[in-house]
């Protein structure tokens, strides 16, 4: 090789010298060459020479490279392609001749390279085609030079280790002619030289072949070296890229910062037409803060957008790479085939060299297997098969602004590097074995597919997130139109007003329904029924917090903020109150309203607390409007005292009155008075109920006992008060109706009774019951009951109906347990009272009356049965009582009712009024049912004669009912029929009969 190269070198030198010396002598050649330039057959070789072949020229002419390199005959440090082969030599010679001024061309190339800022010196290696794989086709335009080089030099140059050089080996003659054919015109000299060169090549073929083996080996070494070099470059590249990335980010951030305010619509708009409070000095600090936040938002948005772009870019690049890889694989396969073919041919031609070759390949294998290559190389080769580092998604996003052209070269470099790696890996694989690359290719393809899917998923996800975020931002932007219309002090002012409306003395009571409902909800959900959701302040004030929020979050924190704010406001108000406590401030205050214009609730500056404040919670309401009334709690206590005092006075007055004359008639309570008293009663009941609710858990023994002792005293006092106010103990004759009856005349009075009944003990309830029975006919529901016997639907009837329902539902229900526990003595006593003081016939025609009578009768029946069974030991009635019940009361009742038996049925009464048959009265069965029940209980206690009377008296009604029920006359539904029969049977069963026995 050395002599060969030397020869070539000499040749070239000669040529050069000739060229330089003989500008004139070389003129005809030049002319010829010049002519070809403009012709159609011109194939751009000139360009190729100018652009692509610079290195060769440089090396050849020693312009750029140190001369010493050319004479490094050992060749170890020399890149393969720098070693001139005969064909290359000839080609370069021609190139020399064609290029009029090669030095200039090389200079141009060099200068152009230097002009490009992105071409750092250490990148030149990549660009300057020293990599043996750089001849591979590329899809981008920047590799035009390489392509052309590939075209022009693939046959002659030894840049590609496999294909081109082999062709040059095979057909030396055609090789020498190759470029000439393109040229068309040749000088004799040229042809002659070529012929000579060809002959020399042919002559030296054997030698050359052997030399080629050496070269191959050398090339491998060089490749290794180059690879190491490349790796170094890569590292450098990475560093550089990361640096550039950093700088890019810095770049990105700085413009975005400047851009951000321009994109903010809200503040800009606001600035254009500033509201009155938008002057800079009145802007709250939060305004600036918000602006900053807005900018930050925008920044983030931009960054995210960039990231998205990068993602897209990445994907794009991956796609490119995939395509390139496919192309590459195709090419490699072709090359492989070609090479094999060629090798085959070669083996045929040069059997003697085969041994050498075998040795050679064996040697390479050994080198490869024994790790003769650098470990990094080895690793990479293995890794590249599966995935290139670029293809892994999580690599740092290297090119932030891919769209910018200035970054493209880097991008391309990366691709090139990647391709080079892959090609190298392929090369090695093919050397190692044929099956390996296929498998690895498949693997890599699968991997790519997976990666692609993964990338797609990530992109979709990112887009979704982006969409969501965008919507949120839009919303915020939309809302922020009204940002900072109010200053912080405005907001505080309004909050103060609002809070002042919310704060009350008794937050629980004022938030009662929400509190109770919340407690019910919590207990239903199985949550611990925590303490009241009430925000309390030191001096008894507080705010009800309503239902507990289930979702913690913004609302929750808002709640906490409000709590803090309220606390602060209340404390401030209290402080102010203290300051004002001196009387000096009140000078000239008469008739003025308090400082600020609370238009909602104007307040006089001078407020005089009256001492006689009632216990009514309206007090708390009244004082709640002004937090400053700090002594409201005290006033309430005083009020309670006053109320108690008043009650005591009243009681004394009553006692005195009754003492003096025994019977003092008074005007009955007016409706209004009754209502007033009812309100007081309600207050008492609510208070008592609240105390019961405040009861500490029995687990805290000490506290509980302490509370118990205290509360029982308190409560018993309150209950006493309650009982007094119910006016139950007032003599019967004091007025008509009795005050208690007046109290339960309004519907809320009736509804109060069950709640009172829970608080009162049995004795008091018996007194109450006695009073009720004694004054039964005074009840509105009894007095007005005849009004109900109508089919008209007036409002009065409806009101009375609801009153009656309330009485049955509340009053009767509250006395029911008393009667159910009553002994015979009480029952007879009450029954006697009822018969004595009331018109029993009139009462029996009312629903409340029927209900009461049924209660007494059934209780008496139960007692009598218990006596018969001997089960109720302690309640055994005396024979006198039994006697009086049977003889006196029951018989008396029976005799009283006897003439009016059918008339007890509302339906019968209605039919008498309206002229309609009682069976056709709408809803007759429902309204008759209590009466049937009454008759059933009456029949139970009746003797035979009385039963006969009952049957006789009710015969018509029973028959009519049974007939219509069984025949279904005028009855729409089966249900109605069954109800009717059930009613009749209720009565008949008490007599030991059944409706089925009645033959219609």
């Amino acid at each position: 090789m050395s002599f060969f190269g030397f020869e070539q070198q000499q040749d070239l030198e000669n040529e050069k010298r000739k060229f330089l010396e003989g500008g004139l002598s070389g003129a005809p050649q030049d002319d010829v060459a010049v002519f070809t330039w403009g012709e159609d057959s011109y194939d751009g070789l000139g360009d190729a020479l100018q652009e692509g072949g610079d290195e060769l020229n440089d090396e050849t002419f020693g312009i750029s490279g140190p001369v010493g390199k050319d004479f490094d005959f050992s060749g170890t440090a020399l890149p393969e392609h720098e070693k001139p082969t005969p064909s290359q030599a000839s080609h370069t010679q021609q190139a020399h001749q064609q290029a009029q001024q090669p030095s200039q061309a090389s200079q141009n190339a060099q200068s152009s390279r230097e002009n490009d800022p992105s071409h750092a010196s250490h990148l030149d290696a990549v660009w300057s085609n020293k990599s043996p794989f750089s001849v591979l086709p590329r899809s981008n335009g920047s590799s035009r030079a390489h392509d052309q080089l590939g075209n022009s030099a693939s046959k002659s140059s030894s840049l590609a280790p496999s294909v081109p050089q082999s062709t040059s080996m095979q057909k030396p003659a055609s090789l020498s002619l190759g470029p000439d054919l393109h040229k068309g015109v040749h000088t004799l000299e040229e042809i002659e030289r070529e012929m000579r060169a060809a002959a020399a090549a042919q002559h030296q073929q054997q030698l050359q072949q052997r030399q080629r083996e050496e070269e191959e080996q050398l090339r491998l070494q060089q490749a290794q070296q180059q690879f190491e070099q490349l790796q170094l470059q890569q590292q450098l590249l990475h560093q550089q890229q990361s640096q550039s990335q950093l700088s890019n980010q810095a770049l990105l951030q700085s413009p975005s910062r400047t851009h951000a305010p321009r994109q903010v619509p809200g503040p800009q708009h606001a600035a254009a037409t500033p509201p009155p409070r938008m002057h800079p000095h009145s802007q709250s600090p939060r305004f600036h803060q918000q602006q900053q936040q807005h900018q930050i938002h925008l920044l983030q948005m931009q960054q995210q957008q960039q990231q998205r772009q990068l993602l897209e870019l990445q994907e794009q690049r991956e796609r490119q790479q995939r395509q390139q890889l496919l192309e590459l694989q195709e090419q490699l396969r072709l090359e492989e085939m070609e090479r094999q073919q060629q090798q085959h041919r070669m083996q045929q031609q040069q059997m003697h060299a085969g041994v050498n070759e075998l040795m050679q390949s064996h040697l390479i294998h050994q080198r490869l297997n024994s790790g003769g290559l650098s470990p990094a190389f080895d690793n990479r080769a293995r890794r590249v098969g599966r995935q290139s580092p670029l293809m892994t998604p999580p690599i740092p996003v290297d090119v932030p602004f891919a769209q910018n052209m200035q970054y493209l070269p880097q991008n391309i470099q990366m691709q090139q590097r990647l391709l080079a790696e892959m090609a190298q890996a392929e090369f090695l694989n093919t050397m190692q074995g044929a099956s390996l690359p296929e498998r690895e290719t498949r693997e890599s393809r699968e991997m790519q597919e997976i990666l692609r899917v993964e990338a797609m998923r990530k992109i979709m996800e990112a887009e979704r997130m982006e969409e969501k975020r965008k919507r949120k931002l839009d919303k915020i932007a939309h809302m922020s139109r009204y940002n900072d219309l109010m200053t912080q002090s405005d907001k505080d002012f309004i909050t103060r007003i609002q809070v002042s409306q919310l704060v009350t003395q008794d937050p629980y009571a004022d938030d009662f329904y929400a509190q109770v409902y919340g407690a019910i909800l919590r207990s239903r959900m199985g949550l611990p029924t925590s303490e009241d959701r009430v925000l309390k302040f030191g001096s008894g004030g507080g705010v009800g917090l309503g239902l507990g929020q289930k979702v913690p979050g913004r609302r929750q924190s808002a709640m906490q903020r409000m709590e803090a704010q309220v606390e602060r406001i209340v404390n401030n108000a209290r402080l102010r109150e203290k300051e004002k406590s001196s009387l000096n401030n009140l000078q000239g205050a008469l008739g003025r309203t308090a400082g600020r214009s609370y238009k909602a609730a104007p307040r006089q500056l001078l407020q005089v607390d009256s001492n006689n404040v009632s216990t009514s919670p309206t007090v708390s309401h009244a004082s709640a409007a002004h937090i400053s009334k700090s002594d409201a709690a005290k006033a309430q206590e005083e009020g309670e005292g006053a109320a108690r005092e008043a009650a005591k006075i009243g009681r004394e007055a009553l006692r005195n009155a009754s003492d003096s004359t025994g019977l003092v008639h008074r005007d009955p309570l007016t409706h209004r008075e009754a209502l007033v008293k009812l309100e007081q009663l309600y207050d008492l009941v609510l208070d008592l109920e609240q105390r019961r609710r405040d009861q500490p858990s029995p687990e805290e023994v000490e506290e509980f006992e302490q509370w118990y002792v205290y509360e029982t005293q308190e409560c018993s006092a309150l209950i006493d008060q309650l009982f007094e106010q119910l006016m139950v103990s007032v003599p019967l004759e004091i007025s008509t109706p009795h005050p208690f009856i007046s109290l339960i005349t309004p519907i809320k009075g009736k509804k109060l009774l069950p709640r009172v009944a829970r608080l009162l003990d049995n004795d008091r309830m018996q007194i109450l019951l006695t009073l009720l029975v004694a004054c039964f006919s005074q009840l509105d529901v009894v007095l007005q009951a005849p009004l109900l016997d109508t089919l008209e639907e007036t409002r009065e009837v409806k009101d009375l109906e609801s009153q009656t329902q309330a009485f049955l539902g509340s009053v009767v229900q509250s006395i029911l347990p008393v009667i159910a526990k009553a002994q015979m003595r009480l029952v007879t006593g009450l029954f006697g009272l009822l018969l004595d003081r009331n018109d029993i016939v009139a009462i029996a025609r009312t629903r409340p009356g029927i209900a009461l009578l049924t209660l007494f009768l059934s209780r008496a029946e139960v007692i009598l049965q218990n006596v018969a069974n001997g089960s109720e030991v302690d309640e055994t009635p005396t024979p006198d009582e039994l006697q009086s019940w049977c003889v006196m009361l029951y018989n008396h009742l029976f005799e009283l009712l006897r003439p009016h038996l059918p008339l007890l049925f509302p339906s019968v009464r209605l039919s008498m009024l309206s002229g309609v048959n009682f069976t056709n009265i709408p809803n007759s069965d429902a309204i008759d049912q209590p009466v049937w029940q009454f008759f059933a209980s009456l029949a139970c206690s009746a003797n035979d004669a009385q039963q006969q009377v009952l049957v006789g008296g009710l015969r018509d009604v029973v028959l009519e009912n049974v007939t219509t029920a069984t025949k279904g006359l005028g009855l729409e539904s089966e249900e109605q029929r069954r109800l009717r029969l059930a009613n009749v049977n209720l009565f008949l069963h008490a007599l030991g009969l059944d409706s089925s026995q009645i033959v219609v």
Binding site: H621, P746, D799
Partner: protein, 97 residues
Amino acid sequence: MDSAANGIQEPFDLIRLSLSERVFVKLRGDRELTGVLHAYDGHMNLILSDVEETIMIVDQVEGAPEGHTTVNIAKRKMEMLFVRGDGVILVSPPSRT
């Protein structure tokens, strides 16, 4: 009995007495209500049930002499009603006949 003993301190206490009673409410815009009062507040917002609303529609008859108007009365009933306080002129117990 004096008002203090009755616990009547402020106008609202009088309305309180009518809780769960039938009340007559006069409203702006020639409207009247009768219904059972269930709740009220400081703004005189009311919650009424079983309400009958009476609307007076005053029509100026065309061609008729000035001041000669006819009053049509429209009535409607509602189960439950929330009355906004700003329309309330008067709340009273219904006149007892």
